[in-house]
Amino acid sequence: MTARERIAGNVAGYVDDRTGAAKWMKKNLTKVFPDHWSFLLGEICLYSFVILLLSGTFLTFWFDPSQREIIYDGGYQPLSGLKMSAAYASTLHISFEVRGGLLMRQIHHWAALIFMVGIVVHLMRVYFTGAFRKPREFNWIIGVGLLTLGIVEGFLGYSLPDDLLSGTGIRIAEAIIQALPLVGSYIAFFAFGGTFPGEAFIPRIYTVHVLLLPGIFLALITVHLMLVWYQKHTQFPGPGRTEKNVVGYPLMPVYMAKAGGFFFIVFGVTAFLGAVASINPIWLYGPYTPGQISAGSQPDWYMGWLDGLVRMSPPLETHAFGHTISWNILLPGLILPGIMFTGLALYPFIESWATGDKREHHLLDRPRNTPNRTAIGVMALTFTMVSLLNGGNDIIATTFHLTINQMMWFSRIGILVLPPIAFVITKRLCLSLQRADRDLVLHGRETGRLMRMPNGEFTEIHEPISAEKAWTLTSHEQIAPLELPEMDAAGVRHPGALKNKLRNRISRAAAVAVPKATQTERRELEGHH
């Protein structure tokens, strides 16, 4: 035993004597994780969160979260002598006088964008592969919570510098609060400490941005990861993989090196973006004043869809009994997003209710093998994409020489028409891909080599695919639709007949599939070839 090994042994012994950690560590250091590029998406979110904590802490050392009005006398000449808030002035100070300050600001902003992109793409991966199914519903809900909080946290973050652009965003947020029936004006006055903009809002959201929400994030992320750990990661179907096992590489040393290395890669790429790609140049926008605005005001992308919904909303207000309800704000700003996020959070339960599938699933679905779920997902994405496009309707109109009216009417009609079309097309595509899989298994791979038969006919030579590939393409389940009773034996309507009818219909739609290839068919066809 070398001296180094002895010391390591002693340290481990010291810790284990006091915690009994050895037993747990022994088991968990060799924990197996399956390998797939799409499993890195969640890691990107985790690492950008760490980057956000680090860069954000740096920024707090100089940022002054105050709306106290001062006269600027700092290093950025074009704004010299202007009235502005201390928050804006300190952001200028960070950008121009603190060495590395601008870099950290840009890293922080880029990391926030990457965090949100990461969450959305990770959510799409989990959704389209069915990783949210039993037993992982809790983690799905935590994930939806993290997405929602991420949107709020990002909005509060870019509101802090108190520049003209972000102040306009706060103004819009205030209008949404003010539009709440009954309590709107009161909540707005409490939140802003009086009339908008006041001097209280930025110090208050600062506390929420740097303390309250990050604390909740930390707690939720911890539970999210512990559940992944405890429940073990899902895996894609493939040779040797079953619902009962996990095939992959051990944590120690392979995943420690890979995951640890990936953190540095994400940080490095974010730093590169912070170095070369200017983001949120607040000194160009000027300090906030409610009487001014710049053309082309845009929120960050994760708020863009919300802004797009607001922009396309019809001009509806109800005035009755001396009161006003602004549907043009409530509908796109609160009601629709509320429905969307509730639906998202409840999706695992809705699907399991509709299909009657209450079993555990650890093998992922290939999206083509669940056409209904995939089509619903693409439908929701289409809805969000039309909203997002409309959130930039002014920029798009200027860039492509359209009128704002054309953009707005495209969105108003598109938001209703395009999602159902996307559903139908996606479902058809999934079924076609299933058919292609079936052909591949039964008839083999097209080689591109032509053969001339004695009778002059040309045929293409097909090569059989490997047993591994054939298994991967056929290992999914094709479940039969539910057949819940609508009438009882005597021909009388069953109580709950309507509900059963609905479930039958949904599960029939979900069970539409091209029959997967079987060994029997393969053998029969081999005889023909």
Binding site: V32, G193, A200, A271, P290, G291
Partner: protein
């Protein structure tokens, strides 16, 4: 049908294929060198960062193709940091992929469900606990506890009350009073009708009394846009026409939709456009909404001139300005 057909079998994990670094010591040595080079590059990145921090002046700019003119210090710090971090990551992953074991391992999953006995025991423990506490048998405790907990929930609500004042009529009113002059923003100069040419636009605010400070709260409510057209271009009711002065019409600049500043004026079409959500108002028809999500016209300010010939408000706004709220009556 498919149950009668024999499905394709799981062929099991395919045999492991060794990498060249597993079988060829030369390849392994090469991979080791590559990892070391990446780590060395990372160290160089940190050196670049240190150099930029100490030696590059913060007001030095350099031109880089594609990126344009850049602050040299910020670029040096950022690129140094990016290289330092990225290369550590790339090195570690290259190390893992070429030199660490790559044989796939199979681990078994366990069932999450506890066995029936444990579950029954758990339910029993909860039931016994509840019974021992006697919640069911002692309704008085249950109810009084419910009341106490419910009331204590009011504490945070109550304590948050002092976050701000009550709205009262703050949303209903602005600072405009009869006879108040309109002054330019910025500049605070009073305006005569002849200062505005036909087609011109001016942003104005109410004149301040001596010693008074203007706050952002005032600007957020009082900002008014003046636009001068030829009087015959208006298409207004007689009352609203009387609110204009020699073709000058005044509107609240705060959007009736969500409160952004309605700052874009198209001289040709005489439309005002809010850049936030593209609500478009027709100036000739008292800022009627002709497009977009806004549901109400911009409130018009009744203006005239005072004895010295400066533009003044004849009356305050006759309706609340800005976005809607519950207590708004029209």
């Amino acid at each position: 049908m498919s149950s009668e057909l024999e499905p394709i079998k799981n062929p099991g994990l395919p045999a492991h294929v060794h990498r060249s670094t597993d079988t060829d010591p030369k390849a392994a040595a090469r991979a080791e060198r590559q990892v070391a080079i990446l780590f060395a590059l990372s160290a160089l990145g940190t050196l670049l960062l240190i150099y930029s921090y100490i030696f590059i002046k913060s007001d030095t700019f350099i031109f880089i193709p594609v990126l344009g003119s850049n602050n040299a210090q910020q670029l040096g710090l950022g690129l140094g940091m990016a290289i330092a971090l990225f290369c550590i990551g790339a090195g570690a992953i290259h190390w893992a992929k070429t030199l660490m074991p790559d044989e796939e391992v199979i681990a078994q999953r366990h069932e999450f469900r506890s066995d029936d006995e444990d579950r029954a025991q758990f339910v029993k423990t909860v039931k016994d606990g509840a019974a021992a506490a006697g919640l069911g048998r002692r309704p008085l405790i249950k109810r009084s506890l419910g009341v106490a907990l419910g009331l204590s929930g009011l504490t945070p609500l109550l304590l948050l009350r002092d976050l701000g004042p009550l709205p009262k009529d703050n949303l209903q009113k602005t600072s405009w009073k009869p006879g108040m002059r309109l002054v330019t923003d910025p500049g605070d100069r009073p305006i005569r009708p002849e200062d505005l040419e036909v087609g011109a636009v001016a942003q104005t605010l109410p004149e301040l009394a001596v010693g008074e400070e203007r706050t952002l709260n005032n600007i957020g409510k009082d900002a008014v846009l003046l636009i001068r057209l030829r009087p015959e271009e208006f298409n207004l009711t007689a009352e609203r026409l009387s609110w204009t002065h020699e073709g000058i019409i005044a509107f609240s600049k705060i959007c009736s939709h969500m409160g952004c500043a309605v700052a874009l004026y198209e001289q040709q079409t005489k439309h005002l456009l809010c850049p936030c959500h593209q609500s478009t108002f027709d100036v000739t028809r008292a800022a009627k909404v002709i497009f977009g999500p806004a549901a109400r016209p911009l409130p018009q300010l009744n203006i005239t001139v005072d004895s010295e010939g400066y533009l003044v408000a004849r009356t305050p706004f006759t309706e609340p300005i800005g976005p809607s709220f519950w207590e708004r009556s029209s």
